[in-house]
């Protein structure tokens, strides 16, 4: 079965057992929300870093699908195809 990969920034990798990416089996397109639910299911501390209790993506967490930030697409409802990557990057912010 094809997979969808979720690539983690190095700072979050300790919360995923040291893995640099997580994979979700996919034989069809899935939403980013469904992919995140699946890959972070075993890593609740990682899940909390990405989304708050309401399920919203944290303000300075950026998620890219096919090179596009999902807030400019359909947000968590953005679809990812098998074989594609979901890239998580913290935004350039702070002082």
């Amino acid at each position: 079965m094809a997979e969808i990969s979720v690539v983690l920034p190095s700072v979050l990798q300790p919360l995923a057992g040291g893995q640099s990416y997580l994979t979700a089996p996919a034989d069809a397109a899935a939403t980013v929300e469904a992919v995140l639910d699946l890959v972070t299911g075993d890593y609740p501390a990682l899940a909390r870093r990405l989304r708050d209790e309401t399920g919203a993506i944290r303000r300075y967490v950026n998620i890219y699908v096919n090179g596009n930030e999902i807030r400019r697409l359909r947000g968590l409802a953005t679809e990812v195809s098998p074989g594609q990557e979901v890239l998580i990057i913290q935004s350039v912010a702070g002082g």
């Binding site: 609740p44 909390r48 209790e53 919203a56």
Partner: protein
């Protein structure tokens, strides 16, 4: 930690946590930072039951807020996987920041309270590993009318009496609320506290109370540092009266009380709402020993000139004899006094903005043990 180290001072800043230890509250050794680049706005040091647990509210701009705890004075840190504080489904809210972590009385081991943003109060019965939302306050009909202070909308002060039934909470902005049934129901108690910034300057609620503290020896006596105004209540917040006379300014954020002695409290005045600096640029602590009838300026050991403010939780007392007084500035200096404020010495300088300090005498297990912040690694 060396066997002689008896005291710990935890310093939460805008960019991490530092820990200082001392054998005598005069010579301090500093370690850190822990949680580098995350702010640490709240700290609780729980020394009940022969264990020293440091609880810290940590907030990353990127990754959100959480609560960590350490049972080895910062050598290792732990957080519950699901998070210690999470709004339940249906609350339609997300935790923004933990403003207050308050271990309850010795007689209620394991009970820890938290005050958070958005305005909410939480209670843990397992030493701060899991908290439950106080529904009485969260569902209060006033909640929609509470506002946000400059730093956010938060419950920042929690006082619980010996019975556990009488609880006072202060919030910015909303004022003081009191529960007489252990937190099940709440009523505003702000009579006498000015809200000069509102159309009605004497509302039932809506005051911007910056910090409240309880007199350790007089039941029903409370002190409040307000957004302009310093007050005392002698009747469990039913009525408040000004005790600002004798202070150089009635603005500020800090209110501390003595751990045992009646009538002793400390404030750190700032000039005004619009000029949040020490009056005349001269940093000083002011202490009353007569419940606010008079104030004594304390600045020995403090810089001659300092234009930094001191935030509401960036000051604390310890429980030693005589009581220690500690505070940190937004300029990153931390000062300690082992004699109730008569003399201060600088413990740390040039840290990021100090948001919170807490100090305690560590449990005997640590005072004789090998582990401690001297061996700490960055968290």
């Amino acid at each position: 930690m060396a066997t002689a180290e008896r005291y710990v001072l935890a310093i939460g800043t805008k960019k991490g946590l530092w820990l200082a230890t001392s054998p005598d509250r005069r010579d301090w050794s500093l370690s850190g930072p822990h949680f580098l680049m995350s702010e640490v706005p709240s700290i609780g040091i729980d020394t009940r039951g022969g264990r020293t647990r440091i609880l810290v509210g940590v907030r990353s701009e990127h990754w959100g807020p959480t609560v960590f705890h350490s049972d080895d004075l910062g050598e290792t840190w732990n957080e519950p996987e699901q998070g210690a504080i999470r709004f339940p489904e249906g609350a339609d809210a997300a935790l923004e920041r933990v403003w207050q972590i308050h271990p309850d009385a010795e007689s209620r081991p394991g009970v820890v309270w938290a005050g958070c943003e958005p305005i909410s109060v939480w209670k843990s019965t397992d030493g701060g590993e899991h908290f439950e939302l106080n529904r009485g306050l969260w569902d209060h009909p006033h909640r929609g009318e509470w506002g946000a202070g400059y730093g956010g909308a938060a419950a920042h002060s929690i006082l619980v009496d010996q019975t556990g039934e009488k609880v006072h909470v202060a919030m910015s902005t909303g004022g003081v609320y009191r529960s007489l049934d252990g937190g099940s129901s709440w009523e505003p108690r702000n009579k006498g506290i000015s809200a000069y910034f509102m159309p009605d300057p004497d509302p039932e609620f809506g005051q911007c109370v910056h910090k409240i503290a309880a007199d350790a020896a007089v039941d029903g006596r409370l002190y409040a540092q307000n957004h302009h105004g310093v007050y005392r209540s002698d009747d469990d917040a039913e009525n408040w009266e000004s005790i600002a006379e004798g202070l150089p300014a009635d603005f500020g954020f800090v209110m501390l009380t003595h751990p045992r002695r009646a009538g002793t409290a400390w404030v750190i005045p700032l000039k005004a709402d619009g000029e949040r600096i020490p009056p005349e640029g001269r940093l000083a602590v002011h202490r009353t020993d007569d419940a606010g009838a008079s104030w004594k300026r304390l600045d020995d050991g403090l810089p001659a000139s300092d234009f930094n403010s001191v935030l509401r939780d960036a000051a604390c007392v310890d429980a030693a004899e005589p009581a220690g007084v500690y505070f940190g500035t937004r300029g990153g200096s931390v000062y300690a006094s082992a004699d109730e404020g008569e003399h201060f010495a600088e413990v740390a300088s040039h840290l990021p903005d100090v948001l919170c300090v807490r100090a305690a005498e560590v449990s005997p297990a640590f005072a004789s043990g090998p582990a401690g912040p001297g061996a700490a690694v960055n968290a």
